[in-house]
């Protein structure tokens, strides 16, 4: 079973729309939406949820005001400005949005008035879609976003792919280059970086290439909305080859993609102007991965 991750550095490059299009081209794949902070893939694939599991991450401190002596030691010790003495009888109160769950307040509290509980940070869902089984999640807004939820989604997706003997696990990766991205990237046989021909795009590209390089994941790059800046697109292509990565192709700027999104269809299903470009990129990738392709 081969795992392919789609990355983009910064968000908004069209990565998720492309991933969905690839999903409708892949013959036999399991999908994993690892872009967990403000996930979007489900909007195109319309999953029917079969199972749901609560996801817990991080801890949160809570002061039991009856047990609080109002000494303020916790407030002084908290390095995140998450405690104020604004409770009943000037008891300490923890601001859940500022609390990092470090445990220092609990350690310094002389009356044991502080308790810690695991935060519910979201849900992981296993679903069916017209493009295959899909594992996705909802991260509670305001939560910590570490690699943990991504790792959970990926774990569940792998298990599913193995159970159903699917040859391909297609992963919509997170933006950025931190722990969430690493959790989506490790162990993949290939990564596709989607970038736009902008000044920030090229800069992001180098950083993502450095990351995939560190994890020894062979990488391809495609330029989305290439005709916004044809000259820069060409420069990017040259840069990609010079960096030792593969160039997977370019996709034109296409309002049709948004129209397709409105109808909850992938670009390929809707047969929009850029569908041909997308198909060509997929042919290259599928060739790289030596998996069966669908021309349909």
């Amino acid at each position: 079973m081969k795992e392919l991750v789609i990355l983009s550095g910064k968000g908004g490059t069209g990565k998720t729309s492309l991933t969905a299009a690839f999903a409708s081209l892949a013959l036999d794949a399991v999908l994993a939406d690892c872009d967990v902070d403000a996930a979007n893939l489900h909007l195109l694939l319309r999953p029917e949820v079969r199972s749901r599991q609560t996801f817990r991450a991080g801890r949160e401190a809570r002061v039991q005001s009856e047990a609080c002596s109002g000494c303020g030691r916790c407030m002084v010790a908290c390095r995140f400005d998450a405690i104020g003495m604004t409770g009943p009888d000037e008891a300490a109160v923890v601001d859940p949005l500022g609390c990092e769950g470090c445990g220092v307040c609990g350690f310094v509290c002389p009356t044991g008035a502080i308790e810690f509980s695991d935060c519910v940070a979201g849900d992981v869902m296993i679903s069916d879609t017209r493009c295959g089984p899909m594992v996705h999640s909802r991260l509670t807004p305001g939560s910590d976003n570490s690699g943990k939820l991504v790792a959970h989604v990926r774990q569940a997706a792998r298990r599913l792919a193995e159970q159903r003997t699917c040859p391909l696990l297609l992963i919509d990766g997170p933006p950025g280059l931190a722990c969430p991205t690493m959790a989506a990237l490790t162990g993949c046989v290939h990564a596709l970086i989607v970038i736009e021909p902008t000044m920030s795009g090229l800069h992001d590209l180098d950083r993502v290439l450095a990351l995939t390089g560190h994890f020894s994941v062979p990488t391809s790059v495609c330029v989305n909305k290439w005709d916004i800046d044809a000259e820069r697109s060409v420069a990017i292509e040259r840069h990609v080859r010079a960096a030792g990565a593969r160039f997977a192709g370019r996709i034109r700027y296409d309002r049709g993609i948004t129209d397709a999104q409105m109808r909850a269809e992938t670009a390929v299903e809707a047969g929009v102007a850029s569908a041909g470009d997308i198909r060509a990129v997929w042919q290259k990738l599928a060739g790289q991965l030596a998996i069966e392709r669908v021309d349909g």
Partner: protein
């Protein structure tokens, strides 16, 4: 000597997990006795630093070498400090990976 292999699932299928920190199971192989022991990776759920917790765990289990797919930078550094040699395998089964190790066909991972 004890060598740790990272395995998928509960390890019974003997399939290699390419990840270290998020591997589900560690197989501890005793090269002198041929003994194999499966240990669940309790740090798999860590928000961050899973690789570091795993490094701590396998050192506590007496490992002097690790065979996995890839290992993150920090975990690699920690293992190096602890004197554990880290090898990278492309094999998908434990049996193949063990054979590769015996034949000296595995690439040793060096910290940067």
């Amino acid at each position: 000597m004890k060598i740790v292999f990272t395995l998928k699932g509960d390890g019974r299928d003997g399939l290699v997990d390419r990840r270290f920190g998020r591997a589900e199971t560690f197989l501890i192989y005793n090269s002198e006795t041929g003994d194999r022991q499966l240990v669940a990776n309790s740090g798999v759920d860590a928000a961050m630093g899973a690789g570091l917790k795993a490094a701590e765990a396998i050192v506590a289990l007496g490992a002097v070498a690790l065979v996995t797919g890839e290992c993150g930078v920090k975990a690699l550094h920690a293992l190096h400090r602890a004197g554990v040699k880290v090898y990278s395998t492309d094999s998908t089964s434990f049996d193949d990976a063990l054979e590769d190790l015996r034949q000296g066909n595995l690439r040793e991972a060096q910290p940067a």
